[in-house]
Symmetry: C2
Subunit: 444 residues, 2 copies
């Protein structure tokens, strides 16, 4: 396993999102809205990110849609199928898919990630979510979603099962010895015999241990439960942080919690999301930002915001302040995102229309509007001042916004010695400087 | 939709199976056993079958493995990931994956097939199984599998839900009208509000209707429950039939049941499995057959047979006849395959060693040992005498056995006007001459 280079380097993940992260990207003349349903568009994005030696691409996901056609944040494609289609046209970049622990069986999920890891030769990552909101639960036989704490309890047990299944074939257990006829080594494929509160799983998995041992574990929830879960399990963390001070506080807290959980904090990589709105001058960047915001359809944006908040605001007058929101303790969704949005609306006394405009660029992630130099300064500041190990890049329009970032910002960061010139490893774990886990069943 | 050509044509499906269907394929000098774990091997097979204008490739599947490393019939790769990897390197051939209704949620399954159908531009098919045996159930929180009849009851409701989800977006519901900001057409995306005995699913699906409307529905169970299910749902049927008379009886029965269910029997394509053991002379073919059988490891083969039968025969003396088997009413597995094997063992008074030898070639499917002309005659006979609409091709070794079939048998069948020279359609449904279903929610 190659070690992390002596000098700490930035990690970049491309956050895939249709034709762009801005709410109105699909209406902007620089995009082709039909591309969100065309696998070739995503293949082009993955190849462009790979050409720039990004660590990974990442697909968000949900298991719901609204019958008014408002997709919210939901991707058109299902993650395993889309990521495999990206694996087929790339060779180095990591492929991170979101799958909920709430609506899948651990055996199926362990298998699909192991299979993707084999097919991609060690490039699979799992962004672990517990899924917020009742709408998803209603697609799976429940009238309402499980409580936030129960979801995390289930998630922790889910991880115990999945990682045991990934280890159930020891490395090298597949012999394929033609002469003797021995297919697998006796005693090196294991039942896991998990019996827990939420799951009973015998094992073994029906696929040998995958190139990375365990696909990379990624997490994105920033609530108290979410941070505790990340400290225990996550190797990369995607997060939304608006200010440097908030970013530093989150970074320090998560590294501290990881250490308290007995882990090396350097092996938990923290990547805040950033929406780069670029122009050759600051004024040009501002004009693009305003041009995008003017295209927001408030009705659609309110539907998206309702999904994100877990509070139905459809029908509320656009030019009035938000109605009183329930206390966060009653929110059974993405608690930390709820608080971020609530605080923003209260602090700046925003009407609903103003709020959806403010969130249209990045759904709570920081939006940096400026020149490539200004964005590079911003990235360097966060990276060197204890707020980030890298960034989750969220271009407002795709593919154009990615091309801009790669052509205009990456060279500046390379010139400053902050970002690699090319890949030094071949697996996703190697890109992030993370070790390959040993199997738990292997004889000492 | 192109119509079926005026003259009825054969349909060919390549049944993917590691490095070959013969039990000992991995020990034969013509194979590379490590290829079973290499996606490039499967990509090469799919491209070769596509070059020969086969209708489809098909991947069997199970959700279990044995800790002694005996995989039985289980594929190394998970179907959605493997088939997407094949979609990425082909453009016309259909991609059929096995997924059980017993251990998946209908929302997840509907989504993954719809996503594969979009990615492949209309080439996805679902081989519907209910999964036999307790071992799989033990990976999903149950000590034993559900009863055969309950499994089929659940499967029928599962199909109701999945097809409704596939229809939940009407064709053309995705507007993407930039000028107006209308993303989807009002009233053309539907909740399905399914409330049944096994499932409650609100919908809609979070992906627009796929190129085929419904991915092709395939089925392979030949028990009474299985046939009734196929008559209601299946558009292609994979089956194991040993003799022409048995094949004709099955064909006639299933077509009759489909008609009784109100369907056009011509739209239920029946494809028996056949293992082509080819030689330039019959003696050469026999020599290959014997060479393969001599490589069978009886212990491993008994494990596979135990899985297929649903009766544990491991430890039974190899050179004695089978122990008394339970009545089929007590078999909660693949009932029709159990009867086929039991009858074969009784009819020919086989020891366990002889039985595993007899089954080693095709697990109950017909094994045709002979010259390309002889196999072409066999295929023509079944096709023209009411036993088959095509064949599920199961080469004993892969890729070599597929190459032999394509190079030696396909040209004979083309010369006889029985098999197409090239594709006439672009979707899997078009290859099989099947219509694209209308959506149930579309206004008249």
């Amino acid at each position: 396993m190659p070690e992390e280079p002596a000098e700490r380097q930035l990690h970049f993940n491309l956050f895939l999102m249709g034709v762009g992260h801005h709410e109105a990207a699909w209406r902007h003349p620089r995009t082709d809205p039909a591309a969100a349903g065309d696998v070739a568009h995503f293949q082009r994005l993955a190849r462009a990110a790979e050409a720039a030696s990004f660590d990974s691409v990442f697909l968000a996901d949900g298991v719901e849609a609204r019958s008014d056609g408002g997709w919210g944040l939901i991707s058109h494609f299902e993650p395993f199928t889309l990521l495999t289609a990206l694996a087929a046209v790339t060779t180095r970049i990591g492929l991170i898919g979101t799958v909920s622990t709430g609506f899948s069986e651990p055996y199926n999920l362990a298998r699909q990630f192991a299979s993707l890891d084999h097919i991609s030769r060690g490039r699979a990552g799992w962004n672990i979510v517990t899924s917020a909101g009742d709408r998803a639960a209603q697609n799976f036989g429940r009238s309402a979603n499980q409580d936030h704490a129960v979801r995390y309890e289930r998630a922790a047990e889910f991880l115990d099962v999945v990682t045991a299944l990934w280890d159930s074939w020891e490395d090298g257990a597949l012999l394929l010895d033609r002469a003797s006829g021995a297919f697998a080594a006796p005693g090196r494929v294991h039942d896991i015999d998990h019996v827990g509160k939420h799951f009973q799983v015998r094992g073994p998995l029906n696929i040998p241990r995958s190139p990375q041992g365990h696909p990379l574990l990624v997490q994105a929830g920033s609530s108290d439960n979410g941070r505790a879960f990340a400290a225990r399990w996550a190797e990369a963390v995607f997060t939304a942080q608006q200010t440097l001070a908030e970013g530093q506080a989150f970074y320090a807290d998560l590294k501290r919690q990881a250490a308290a959980a007995g882990r090396d904090p350097a092996r938990v990589k923290i990547l805040p999301g950033v929406v780069p709105v670029l122009g050759s001058t600051e004024a040009e960047a501002r004009a693009l930002d305003e041009e995008l915001d003017a295209l927001i359809s408030p009705a659609r944006a309110v539907g998206v915001l309702s999904t994100v908040l877990g509070v139905d605001l459809t029908g509320h007058p656009l030019d009035e302040p938000l109605p009183p929101l329930p206390p966060v303790t009653e929110i059974n969704g993405a608690k930390s995102r709820f608080e971020l949005i609530r605080d923003l609306a209260e602090r700046d006394r925003l009407t609903l229309r103003q709020l959806v405009g403010r969130l249209g660029g990045g759904r709570g992630h920081q939006v940096v509007v400026g020149t490539p130099e200004q964005l590079a300064d911003h990235i360097e500041t966060w990276f060197t001042r204890g707020a980030a190990d890298g960034f989750n890049i969220m271009p407002p329009v795709l593919p154009g916004g990615l091309d801009d970032f790669v052509e205009q910002v990456v060279p500046i960061l390379r010139a400053r010695g902050l970002f690699r010139e090319g890949y030094t490893g071949s697996t996703l774990r190697e890109h992030y400087g993370l070790p390959r886990p040993a199997g738990r069943y292997a004889a000492a």
